[in-house]
């Protein structure tokens, strides 16, 4: 993680001071460390143990070694599809979310009237209860819903049964999720745009950079740190997606939109196989860490920090 190692610039001849600071740091950190140990490290440790056991919700637990992991990869019929669905969701959701968020942030430039109001509007789905969001989207998307109604009466074209059609369900889960979650990234990009140094933009303009070329060769590189940050966070949330498919499509039709976290939830809370659920959770966890580490490695190639 390259962002971390730049702060201590004047480290020389300061070892005594640094020892004092270590003690002070411990003081400042102790609440966070204690909390993190109790409420994250311990439960995480417990879940590792659970993943190694045949752990029904009730009754005898027995040590299973890596049995749960083997089951997942070899015999469980829903695990691979769930893994695939989470990957497909992330592949569609992350770029779409970033593009929409970035476009809106760019469009909401300083000369747009009421940009503050627009920003609030685009952010509101983030604060809306997901139960209500999902219900409304279902009412819009069903064959008797608003979209199909408009399409039939205006264009005379019958739209597919979006949420029940295996070719469309995932797309619609992605669209709804982007609508619901894009506001965060839009705010981040808006903030980054406010920080762009005007002289650089002007200089580029005098050089004749305009429109697309200006965006591609000047603005985007300068935004790349925030795009990087947004990408990392969005990939994490994409792989943790649960509520949107659960409420919108119920993971269906078939298992076309069943993501990994819903698989975990079903195994644990519906089928009482807590060991298998914990094992699947660890697969997901490793996947997320791996992808994040990869992104931090790959950032050198496209992220431009100014110093």
């Amino acid at each position: 993680m390259t962002t971390i190692s730049s702060a201590g610039t004047r480290r020389s001849s300061r070892s005594r001071l640094s020892r004092i600071e270590s003690r002070q740091a411990l003081g400042f950190m102790s609440p966070a460390l204690v909390g993190l140990a109790l409420f994250t490290i311990v439960p995480v440790g417990l879940s590792v143990v659970m993943s190694l056991y045949d752990w029904p919700a009730f009754g005898e637990r027995s040590f299973a070694g890596l049995g749960n992991y083997v089951d997942l990869f070899t015999s469980n019929p829903d695990f691979w599809p769930a893994l695939r669905n989470s990957a497909v969701f992330a592949l569609l959701y992350v770029p779409l979310n970033l593009v929409v968020a970035l476009s809106l942030a760019l469009a909401l430039g300083p000369r747009i009237r009421g940009r503050a109001a627009f920003r609030v509007l685009f952010f509101i789905p983030v604060v809306t209860p997901i139960v209500a969001n999902a219900l409304v989207w279902k009412m819009l998307l069903q064959p008797q819903g608003l979209f199909n109604g408009i399409s039939v009466s205006v264009l005379g074209v019958e739209l597919p049964n979006f949420l029940a059609d295996e070719n469309w369900a995932m797309t619609m889960v992605v669209v709804m999720s982007v609508w619901q979650g894009m506001g965060y990234n839009m705010l981040i990009f808006s903030a980054a745009l406010e920080q762009l140094p005007a002289p650089v933009i002007e200089a580029a303009r005098i050089d004749g950079a305009q429109g697309w070329r200006m965006l591609r060769s000047v603005v985007l590189p300068m935004l790349s740190p925030s795009i990087f940050f947004a990408t990392v966070m969005t990939v994490i949330t994409a792989l943790q997606v649960f509520a949107q498919p659960q409420l919108l499509t119920g993971g269906g039709p078939g298992n076309a939109t069943l993501p990994l976290v819903q698989f975990i939830y079903n195994q644990g809370f519906k089928f009482q196989d807590l060991g298998l659920a914990a094992a699947a959770a660890w697969v997901l966890f490793v996947l997320i860490i791996g992808l994040t580490a990869f992104q931090f490695r790959a950032q050198k190639r496209w992220v431009h920090y100014e110093h």
């Binding site: 919700a57 069903q142 008797q144 029940a164 499509t249 519906k270 009482q272």
Partner: protein
């Protein structure tokens, strides 16, 4: 600071050791103060008020026992139950829905005749078949408080307007098709298919006379008679086009919502909703009949819910006494009189009808009598919950014409048939 990391690691390691040591801790009473906890689902304040009324009856009958009610919303009740089970926190008196009993069977203490005596309950108190609701694998795991079965509900206004024949008690599947087709118009459909377990299975079972679980307790989804009937059922959407395909697998109540929204003339739902359909918001005139009779005679299942004693309950005797009061005459009479549920206790059942408005009383009673006339016990497998969880999203594909019923039943059978 390098000290921190090992410290954290050892904390975690300690935790794991501690956990491995108490590897198989199972249920306790779930309360520290010796009170008997009664765990039940409840949504609205009205539901909770009714439960509290029952609680008063129980307390009056058992002045020496401290009883406490705890509730969770229906959909989440079972999520919480799993957490409570896995943490040894199960309430002594845990409510259970008969259809899900097989999944949670391990958590309940089987009831012996001696137990029933302690509870002051006789098997004969209950309506025929009612005890089957709380029976799994030949063991009685609890006592039922309500019984139900599936009915066909219909919208008289839609059927009259379309000039379709009105459903009648004792009708056949040909009659059913005639009504469904007759009531299908450009604006509304004659029928609405279900996604919930028996909201959809009831008609195929009635038609084939065959449950999807064999008498030996093995899964039998591919039983030819049942599979044919199920294919006919999905054909109501795909071939006969008298019903709409479901819009999403998360719409568990798809068919029922279509019906109560006035978009479909008929739907299958449990007797538990009779009262709410009669007084429907939409203001249409609602009717109800038993399921159509198939070639093998009429076949319907007795469903319902009950209360069981959790394994590891520390004060079993007190819990049994409370259980006896919960399904005792006073509590059952009160439940029946309020019209909230059709009681499991035979002598309390007539009170349910007297709670209804005079104008519908006769019709409801006739439909209930016909529907309960020869119900049989629902057979279940250990995996029954999983089977239904797997089937529901697949049904959506079937209704939408992207999979066949035969394939879906075949795959599910293969996955869970053992």
């Amino acid at each position: 600071m390098r000290m921190r990391t090992p410290l954290l690691a050892s904390t975690a390691a300690l935790a794991m050791l501690g956990l491995a040591a108490c590897g198989s801790g199972s249920g306790s009473g779930g309360s520290d103060d010796g009170a008997i906890v009664w765990d039940m689902w409840s949504g609205s304040q009205a539901d909770t008020d009714a439960l509290n009324e029952t609680l008063e009856i129980v307390k009056k009958e058992n002045p020496d026992v401290d009883v406490r009610l705890q509730t969770a919303p229906w959909n989440d009740y079972f999520t919480k139950l799993t957490t409570n089970m896995s943490s040894g926190n199960l309430a002594c008196l845990t409510s259970m829905n008969g259809q899900r009993l097989s999944t949670y069977a391990d958590a309940f203490e089987p009831l012996t005749d001696a137990d029933l005596k302690t509870a002051g309950i006789s098997r004969d108190d209950f309506a025929p078949g009612a005890l089957d609701i709380m029976t799994y694998d030949d063991q009685l795991l609890g006592l039922p408080f309500d019984v139900s079965t599936m009915l066909v509900y219909y919208n008289k206004d839609l059927i009259d307007a379309a000039g379709a024949p009105e459903p009648k008690i004792g009708w056949s599947f040909d009659d059913f098709e005639a009504t469904a087709q007759g009531a299908t118009t450009d604006a509304t459909k004659g029928f609405a298919v279900g996604l919930g377990e028996f909201q959809w299975m009831a008609l195929p079972i009635a038609m084939s006379g065959q449950q999807p679980v064999g008498e030996d307790g093995t899964l039998a989804l591919t039983d030819p008679a049942f599979a044919d009937a199920a294919t006919w059922y999905s054909g109501l959407v795909t071939d006969q086009e008298v019903a709409l395909p479901a819009a999403s697998a998360s719409d568990t109540g798809w068919g029922e919502n279509q019906y109560s929204g006035g978009n479909a003339a008929m739907a299958v739902d449990g007797t538990w909703n009779a009262v709410s359909y009669l007084g429907n918001d939409a203001g249409f005139d609602a009717g109800m009949v038993d399921l159509p009779t198939g070639e093998a005679g009429s076949t319907s299942l007795v469903l319902g819910s009950g209360y069981g004693i959790a394994k590891g309950c520390e004060n079993k005797e007190a819990a049994l006494k409370v259980l006896g009061s919960l399904v005792g005459k006073d509590a059952q009479d009160a439940m029946a009189t309020s019209g909230r549920s059709y009681p499991a206790r035979a002598e309390s059942q007539p009170l349910y009808f007297s709670s209804l408005d005079k104008s519908v009383r006769g019709e409801v009673e006739a439909a209930f009598d016909a529907a309960f006339a020869d119900v049989e016990a629902q057979r279940s497998t250990k995996d029954w919950d999983k089977v239904n969880t797997a089937l529901q999203p697949d049904l959506v594909s079937v209704y939408n014409g992207q999979a066949t019923m035969t394939d879906v039943l075949g795959q599910t059978q293969q996955q869970f048939g053992e």
